[in-house]
């Protein structure tokens, strides 16, 4: 931990107290979820990539556990334990350590052990109001702790969907692109490939099987797969059944028949992904893009505009707010609005605070359904460094 000296420890403790009092005064109840968490929930939510950044270990009973990489998932689990109905509105705040493996080696800005002070709110019906309030309370905490010179960056993972609607794409194309958008590593490649069809020509799925696939005749389709396996003397092994394999093959066959992605749609997507800048002008740019698209509408940015208005009402100077269409794509579990607070004096890759909407997380933690959820956390050591109170 970066609090290697008593002075540092005391500075962090006093900063945390200041921030927590902002949170509790705003109606968030303080909680302290367990530091050691079952690894399952995290692995299920974030997937195996989590292991690369998390201290996962096996205890003497063989249970797979982890040192919490953040406090959001533990707070979701705590909410589920407290409330039989996960939709019960609730607001929580916390301050405590979280742990992340740093593949490039632990540094002051990226320590393996750090403190997060944050808030999470569940079950809010008015979405943009909950989002704007989360931002303004986090900023208030940061300012109360003595740092005023922040900048705020916004993103919205839901907007891409509106862009796709405006492009007038088939449901199949829309789903593909929506999925691809969250994988920025392969997105540009995928988009290029999509210009020729839903699926690249590189796949070696046997043509004779694909040509026998019929969505309206599952029995015949399955039989065709079974015959092929028999002829090739391939044994059916493993967990997936003949029916599972056939279902996917039918999907692949349908993809083959899909018309190539319209070049105007590709252009629209590329322009949207490139939008970045002051939040107000970015909104105007996106608005214009959508309005001029084949299936355009004038109202697609209603939520965007409402959110900005709410932020302005909360006293946030919109001149200090930027928006980037690409922002948020690599963050693990966010589903819509995302934000990051930075200090000009710190590396832009080391924000002071970040958060957003994650409606799907509670389901992964066991709620059985999506629950509206917004939250954010302050990176305590970085904030202390930004205020000049030592550490990192």
């Amino acid at each position: 931990m970066t609090a290697e000296t008593v002075q540092n420890l005391e500075a962090l403790a006093s900063q945390a107290q200041t921030i927590m009092s902002v949170f509790t005064k705003a109606g968030y109840s303080a909680v302290a979820p367990a530091i050691i968490q079952p690894a399952d929930v995290f692995l299920d939510v974030i997937g195996e990539s989590l292991r690369a950044r998390t201290y996962v270990f096996t205890d003497q009973d063989g249970a797979e556990l982890c040192l919490r990489p953040d406090i959001t998932v533990p707070t979701c689990r705590l909410h589920l334990e407290r409330h039989a109905d996960p939709m019960t509105p609730a607001r929580y705040c916390y301050n405590g350590p979280a742990f992340r493996f740093q593949p490039q080696g632990a540094t002051a800005a990226h320590p393996r052990e750090f403190r997060q002070a944050g808030i999470e709110r569940f079950g809010d019906k008015s979405r943009e109001a909950a989002e704007a309030e989360t931002v303004s309370i986090i900023l208030k905490g940061i300012e109360k702790a003595g740092f005023k010179d922040w900048t705020l960056k916004l993103g919205d993972l839901g907007l891409f969907s509106s862009v796709l609607d405006a492009a007038g794409l088939s449901p199949n194309w829309k789903k593909r692109l929506d999925d691809a958008f969250l994988r920025p590593l392969s997105f540009r490649e995928a988009l290029k490939g999509f210009a020729t069809g839903v699926r690249g020509a590189s796949s070696s799925v046997p043509e004779e099987v694909l040509s026998a696939m019929r969505r309206d005749d599952r029995e015949a389709s399955e039989a065709a797969v079974a015959v092929y396996l028999e002829e090739e003397a391939i044994e059916l092994i493993g967990t997936r059944t003949l029916s599972d394999i056939t279902e996917h093959l039918i999907g692949i066959a349908e993809d083959r028949k899909e018309k190539p992605l319209d070049t105007r749609a590709i252009d629209l997507i590329a322009r949207y992904v490139g939008v970045s800048g002051p939040a107000i002008t970015a909104g105007e740019k996106i608005s214009a893009l959508i309005k001029n698209a084949p299936n355009g509408s004038a109202y697609a940015l209603e939520t965007y505009d409402r959110r900005l208005a709410l932020l302005a009402n909360a006293g946030i100077d919109l001149d200090r707010v930027t928006f980037a269409a690409e922002f948020g794509r690599t963050l693990a579990y966010y589903t819509g609005f995302v934000f990051e607070v930075s200090a000009p004096s710190l590396d832009p890759k080391s924000p002071l605070a970040g958060g957003g909407r994650y409606d799907g997380l509670m389901r992964a933690a066991g709620s059985g359904a999506d629950v509206p959820a917004v939250g954010a956390a302050i990176h305590s050591e970085r904030l202390l460094a930004a205020t000049g109170g030592k550490a990192p």
Binding site: L43, D44, I46, G47, E48, S49, L50, R51, A52, P103, R183, P184, L185, S186, G200, S202, S203, S204, V205, P206, V209, V225, Y228, L229, I234, E235, L236, I237, G238, T239, R240, D244, I245, E247, H248, L249, G251, I252
Partner: protein, 240 residues
């Protein structure tokens, strides 16, 4: 003057092939002291101490810098040393110990021939079984890095110490990442390699580690050894 320490495999096929390679280079490696001991020397290269180490532990010895040089498979170096690119120097490919680290799925998965198609089945699989597809492997880091580079994260790793290729048919996992030379064992277990599923084409290498203490004298001994070995390996033997 302190000596250069070279770790070579202490048993099995890799040890035999290492000894043969030294012989072709006109170098005789022999044990010092007891025949079951773990120390040796190279005739004609008095500046080198040989340590016989099990090949999986050679990567650990290189990582910590307890030896200067080591002969082992690239797969083990890439798996066990996350910052191999900066910590380890790849001095010479040795033309033996060939093994591909590959992603293999049941051959009956006609619908899955690429990582992209594997990704497509992950979510339906999870909806039906309540968990992500499991990947049995001993190459946890290579697997994670490879799938990570393809943007694929919807799977769970099951650590497998041995007989990994049997995991899909026994229901321990849905697919595997393992080494193969001819693919025969995979086929015998009803598995096939994904078209884009070759993670690493590995062979035995002479490695040096930056974690050890180096002096100009030790560098000179190292250069002499590398040159002798390089000259004895036909260039086409290392290419695949």
């Amino acid at each position: 003057m302190s000596k250069l320490t070279l770790a070579i495999p202490s048993k099995g096929r890799l040890m035999e092939q290492t000894t043969d390679m030294f012989a072709r280079a006109g170098l005789v490696v022999r044990k010092v002291g007891h025949v079951r001991g773990y120390r040796g020397e190279i005739e004609g290269l008095p500046g080198i101490d040989v340590a016989y180490v099990s090949s999986s532990e050679i990567s650990e010895a290189l990582k910590s810098g307890s030896v200067h040089l080591g002969i082992t498979g690239e797969d083990l170096i890439r798996e066990n040393i996350s910052d191999a690119a900066t910590r380890i120097r790849f001095l010479q490919k040795l033309g033996f110990g060939f093994a591909d680290v590959v992603v293999a799925v049941p051959a009956c998965w006609l619908d899955v021939t690429t990582v992209a198609e594997l990704e497509e089945i992950a979510l339906p699989f999870r909806r039906k079984h309540g968990r992500w597809p499991r990947v049995a492997t001993k190459y946890i880091n290579l697997t994670r890095r490879f799938f990570g580079s393809k943007g694929f994260g919807d799977y769970r790793i099951i650590e497998s110490a041995g007989a990994t290729e049997g995991a899909p048919s026994s229901g321990m996992a849905e697919l595997i990442v393992d080494i193969t030379t001819t693919g025969e064992t995979l086929r015998a277990n009803g598995l096939k390699i994904l078209d884009d599923g070759v993670i690493l084409k590995s062979q035995a290498n002479l490695f040096a580690t930056n974690a050890a203490h180096w002096t100009p004298e030790l560098e000179a001994v190292c250069a002499e050894l590398t040159e002798k070995l390089a000259n004895s390996i036909p260039s086409k033997a290392t290419a695949r």
